[in-house]
Amino acid sequence: MNFPLSFWDISLWLAVTAIILLITSELTSPYYGKTNLLINKKRLKNVALTIGVLFLITVVIRIYEITTSP
């Protein structure tokens, strides 16, 4: 009984989710005049940025692994 996803699977999932959320967050931004969507856009933006940063952290870990491996 193990969790079937590896670290890189999670990284891929984070990348896809971050792209979807960042695009959605940009398209619903009040700066484009789309103010009729009744969701908390600030929270959506924060979630999108957090997921994006998490993905970047996985990338940094990957780069560190590549550079330090013999």
């Binding site: 999932w13 989710t17 103010t35 600030k42 959506l44």
Partner: protein, 273 residues
């Protein structure tokens, strides 16, 4: 709407958790991805649920009778002076913001000490004037709360930078807001002949596009003692902010509005003490 999104959020979360548990049990990759996705979107739906929104129509219906009353009171009392937004130094309680309206057009503004003596009164005698809480007072306090900083501790440049963000992104009051600060034409002429160093910025031009108050502003324009004196709630809120940030009294010189109400322009003058 809010209830249905809550139900959908919890359902997605429950299915996601179930799928994750099953994926661990059967060590199934696709089921794990599905579980991860459903759990995340369920949690996201619950997290980004809509705030309390009200329809624009309600906003107008609630505000208009109060403005009509103010207009009628000043019309019946024969007040002709322009509303002067007073900065905090005119009051003992520095959180206060009031508009000073004189009965006669050419009456001078009282000194801060004289105003402080009548701070809690609505009407002042010698000269005949009124000291009322502006219609945009609460809105300007909301701006300060959103900013996390009192306008009294800022300046006009700060206002020029931060107010558009509050209007567009934070409170979603308007689609766009532009603030231009400049010297009046008279000050420019004096500065040309004397020195540019002493050029005083005393005119603030604000252009609001796609405001949620557009219908209210259009209706308020019919009320001459409101629109021409103290302004509609949004113009009034900006006047309060300018008075606090500049530390000087402010008047609303002119307000303009396109026929569809989409673009509103207001010109403010910062007065010398």
């Amino acid at each position: 709407m809010r209830e249905s999104s809550k139900v959908i959020g919890y359902t997605l979360l429950a299915f996601g958790m179930l799928s994750l548990i099953l994926s661990i049990f059967y060590e199934h990759v696709i089921m794990a991805f599905i579980g991860l996705g459903l759990t995340f979107w369920g949690a996201l739906l619950l997290f980004i649920r809509s705030e309390e929104y009200v329809k624009e129509k309600l906003l107008n219906s609630t505000m208009l009778p109060t403005l009509t009353d103010i207009n009628q009171v000043f019309a019946e009392l024969g007040y002709q002076g322009k509303g002067i937004y007073l900065p905090p130094k005119y009051f003992k309680n520095t959180g206060t913001s009031k508009v000073y309206i004189t009965q006669n057009k050419n009456t001078d503004l009282l000194t801060p000490e004289e105003i402080q003596q009548h701070e809690n009164k609505l009407f002042i005698k010698n000269p005949e004037a009124a000291l009322i809480t502006p219609p945009g007072y609460s809105l300007s306090k909301l701006f300060e709360k959103t900013l996390g900083k009192s306008f009294a501790k800022t300046d006009l440049e700060y206002l020029q930078q931060k107010l558009p963000k509050i209007f567009i992104e934070d409170l979603e009051i308007a689609e766009n807001l532009e603030i231009q600060i400049g010297p009046s034409k008279a000050a420019e002429k004096v500065a040309d002949s004397v020195s540019l160093i002493h050029l005083k910025y005393d005119i603030v031009h604000v252009k609001i596009t796609g405001s949620i108050y557009k219908d209210l502003c259009k209706e308020a324009r019919k009320l001459s003692h409101v629109c021409g004196t103290i302004g509609c709630p949004i113009c009034s809120a900006i006047a309060c902010a300018i008075a606090e940030a500049s530390g000087n009294p402010v008047t609303i010189e002119k307000t303009e509005c396109t026929e569809d109400g989409k673009v509103m322009e207001a010109h403010y003058r910062i007065l010398e003490d």
